[in-house]
């Protein structure tokens, strides 16, 4: 009896979370004029998806998003790894210093957007993909550093001691031992960085242009003065969710895995 009750509860809350997403998927698969109908599946069609790619250049937007998100992760991760490791191991600058890593995260993003825009305009980085990659890398760096700090702290420092007496330099110990051991954490942080960049809207809107519009910007542009093209928005959102679903599978797998599996005791 208790199991039934708890299952009913779980089903209810799952529905609360899942139904909006399922409804988006449903709306993306029915013709535009039936979007707001109360029927669950009046007619099935892929027209919205086709229209998105043929009339709205969604393919370009998707590619932009992938390039920018992957690029920002590639730029940010080496920096976040070395910085996080330094903070984790060398007790540099104390607690206050560690917290200051997160200082920029405490500002509302819009406070940073305007100065960044002025700067980007001066150096000519507006409306360019590398410009977006850089700004995402910069925005995510503190957060990624913070996460990695925790992962590196959980790697026993004896491992580096062992590596260094075995003949490795400090850098060698980091590269050959610490990084592979912390790989699950690094992977999780990279996926998180990808998700943050993938979803970012404000900077993409302000710093980008038509050529560099990412998925969130493209979706926003479907809310026109003639109304919201809800079917295409739904199709776009469904596609935008896809990489995140794959990514979160990865995160789960890596985060659950222990870090120092079998190195000690």
């Amino acid at each position: 009896m208790r199991r039934i009750v708890s299952h009913i509860g779980l089903i209810f809350f799952s529905a609360v979370v899942l139904l909006p997403i399922l409804w988006v998927l449903r709306t993306s698969l029915v013709p535009e004029h039936l979007s707001y109908s109360s029927q669950i599946l009046p007619e099935l069609t892929l027209d919205n998806y086709v229209a998105l790619f043929t009339t709205k250049h969604f393919g370009n937007n998707y590619l932009n998003s992938i390039l920018v998100a992957v690029g920002s992760v590639i730029v940010a991760m080496p920096l976040a790894c070395t910085t996080g490791y330094a903070f984790a191991r060398f007790r540099t600058s104390g607690r206050a210093g560690r917290f200051s890593v997160l200082a920029t995260q405490m500002l509302p993003p819009v406070a940073l957007a305007l100065p960044t825009f002025m700067f980007y305009r001066t150096v000519g980085l507006t409306n360019s993909l590398p410009g977006l990659m850089l700004v995402y890398a910069a925005l995510n760096l503190p957060f990624l550093t913070w996460i990695l700090m925790g992962f590196f702290e959980s790697v026993p420092s004896d491992l580096e001691g062992a590596a260094m007496t075995d003949g490795a330099t400090a850098w060698g110990a980091f590269w050959r031992i610490v990084l592979p051991v912390a790989a699950p954490g690094i992977a999780a942080a990279a996926v998180l960085g990808f998700i943050l960049s993938w979803n970012e809207f404000l900077f993409a809107l302000i710093l980008g242009g038509p050529r560099t519009a990412t998925v969130p910007v493209a979706l926003a542009s479907l809310q026109t003065s003639n109304g919201v093209e809800i079917a295409k928005v739904s199709a776009g959102v469904s596609l935008a969710i896809l990489p995140l679903m794959i990514a979160s599978r990865f995160i789960q797998r890596y985060l659950v895995q222990g870090l120092s599996f079998g190195s000690v005791k």
Binding site: G161, A162, T165, G262, V264
Partner: protein
Amino acid sequence: MASIRLQTVSKAYGSDLYGVKDVDLTIEDGEFICFLGPSGCGKSTTLRMIAGLEDVTDGAIWIGDKDMTRAAPRDRNVAVVFQSYALYPHMSVRQNMEFGLKMRGVSLAQRNDRIDTVSEILGLGPYLDRKPAALSGGQRQRVALGRAMVREPDVFLMDEPLSNLDAKLRAEMRLELIKLHRRLGRTTIFVTHDQVEAMTMGDRICIMRDGHLVQVGKPLEVYANPVDTFVAQFLASPAMNLLDARLEKGLQDEEVVATALGHFPLSADQVSAYDAARGRKLLLGLRPEDIHEADAPGRVAFKAEIVAVEALGTENIVVFNVAGQEFTARLGRHFIPAIGSTVPLYGDPRQMHLFDAETTRAYPRPSSGPVSNKED
């Protein structure tokens, strides 16, 4: 192969907080030396300084004929076996052992050769392709040892390597390490807080306390002539009994040590040896094995109220009470007094130790000669 020389080595954290202070020690080539002390006494820190894993604040460390005080760990040709084993979790047993050899540019053929030899000695053959996570504690311990052995280092540094093993395995590994040391003949420093390990394994033991080196010597010498009450109590389990004492004249004007257990008579050589103790507040030290259930000429009798008996099969550890103070005796296995009963026990005055109550320093025992607290 190398000797090790520590010259007034200190490790400070901040301006006046010392982890290790002014340690002077020479370790001979091929010697097996144990650093013994309670946790936080600086023994591991000293070991890590020798390995190069901790900076030396003051003093110098020589390995062989080279000043290695500021050398990087990899330039010292030492191998460390960590308490945590510190096996590389993402590498197989073979790769763990191979890592140090690769780092030093040893050829593939030689690497395989050495790994085969060492894994044969340690019985690691069947596990070479396993990851550390798939090994038992004892096997991991062997891999950690093997990783150090394949390197053929000048010096083995072992930081409580047996403390994570169960009692039986620990005893086995203790013997095996001694055999290995005989076979390899490498200078070995073995850090432990277990006095049995230190007593049984070391050519010499080095007792540390609060960052200071308190006493260095052969195990039995240190056991027989502890320099102070700390060493006396730390080096054995159960610990040495200590009781307030004073040098006095006995009934026939002979010299005695007056204690709660009675008057311990002094022999002629003891009288001259303990001359300096006259008039001082003293502590008399009597090891549990120097208290007996049977009388013999010269022994001092006292009435003991039995508080607890730990029957160990080979012997009985008996806790008893005299004049409100508890003492411990190590008695024969057939002597099992009833708890609460009062029985006569006998102390052996020839085996007693005398310490100054204020300084806790020992008065050198007769025939033992002076005991130095530092090696030159």
